[in-house]
């Protein structure tokens, strides 16, 4: 995974908006707000598709657990889920 460390100086409107986003509780930290902002930009310019991102992340998460379910196990789990719902 690529990592970038940046020092960004903000003033005026950008600093105000960032402070307000955290103050209002939309984001826990300024860093988090900036990260989400970059993804939104990527989305606007067609560089990032959230659904694809989550698709890949889900695949990685499944792999990470190391669990493999057979077709029958999935069906069984689904039936149980439906009954409980």
């Amino acid at each position: 995974m690529v990592q970038e460390k940046l020092l960004v100086r903000l003033s005026g409107a950008t600093a105000d908006v960032l402070n307000e986003l955290v103050k209002r509780g939309y984001f826990a930290t300024k860093s988090e707000a900036i990260r989400v902002g970059i993804l939104r930009l990527g989305e606007n310019f067609g560089l990032f598709k959230p659904a694809m991102h989550y698709w890949r992340e889900l695949g990685e998460e499944i792999k990470r657990t190391g669990r493999k379910m057979t077709h029958d196990e999935v069906l069984e789990a689904l039936t149980r889920l439906e009954q409980e719902t």
Binding site: K49, P50, A51, M52, H53, Y54, W55, E57, L58, G59, E61, I62, T65, R67, M69, H71, V74, A77, L78, L81, E82, Q83, T85
Partner: protein
């Protein structure tokens, strides 16, 4: 089922999800499906998988139909279809959707005209489907 098998197996449901990600059709999802997908992945692959699967469904869907919105349709459909399928069909009728993509013979037995299997749905886009129906 589409969201679950589509992520876990190489199958027609996966092709449906790929087509959706390419924007070939609009995805509308019921609150019930959203909850079931999240629960399935949470119970079988952990909390993070549950969260990510929910976000995937939310991002792929142009709209999530909340239970509150479809009370009238659900009431009208009671007794005509199995209780487990009621919410999904009510969502389809409420939104006037063209297709209910699922693999559940109960829809077929009840004569639901919007019902289509992943295999048949994929064919609509002139893709060669896998042999299995789901």
């Amino acid at each position: 089922m589409i969201f679950i098998f589509g992520r876990l197996e190489e199958c027609n449901s996966r092709l449906v999800l790929f087509l959706a990600q390419l924007g070939e059709f609009e995805v509308v999802t019921s609150e019930l499906v959203l909850e079931e997908v999240e629960r399935f992945f949470r119970e079988n692959f952990g909390r993070q998988a549950g969260y990510v699967s929910r976000r995937f469904v939310e991002e792929l869907s142009s709209r999530i139909i909340r239970r509150d919105e479809i009370k009238t349709e659900m009431e009208a459909l009671k007794g005509k279809i199995k209780a487990k399928d009621l919410e999904n069909l009510a969502a389809v009728r409420h939104e006037n959707l063209g297709h209910l993509v699922a693999y559940d013979e109960d829809y077929q037995e009840s004569g639901i005209k919007e019902y289509i299997t992943p295999k048949e749905f994929v064919k609509l886009f002139r893709l060669r489907p896998y042999n299995m129906e789901y």
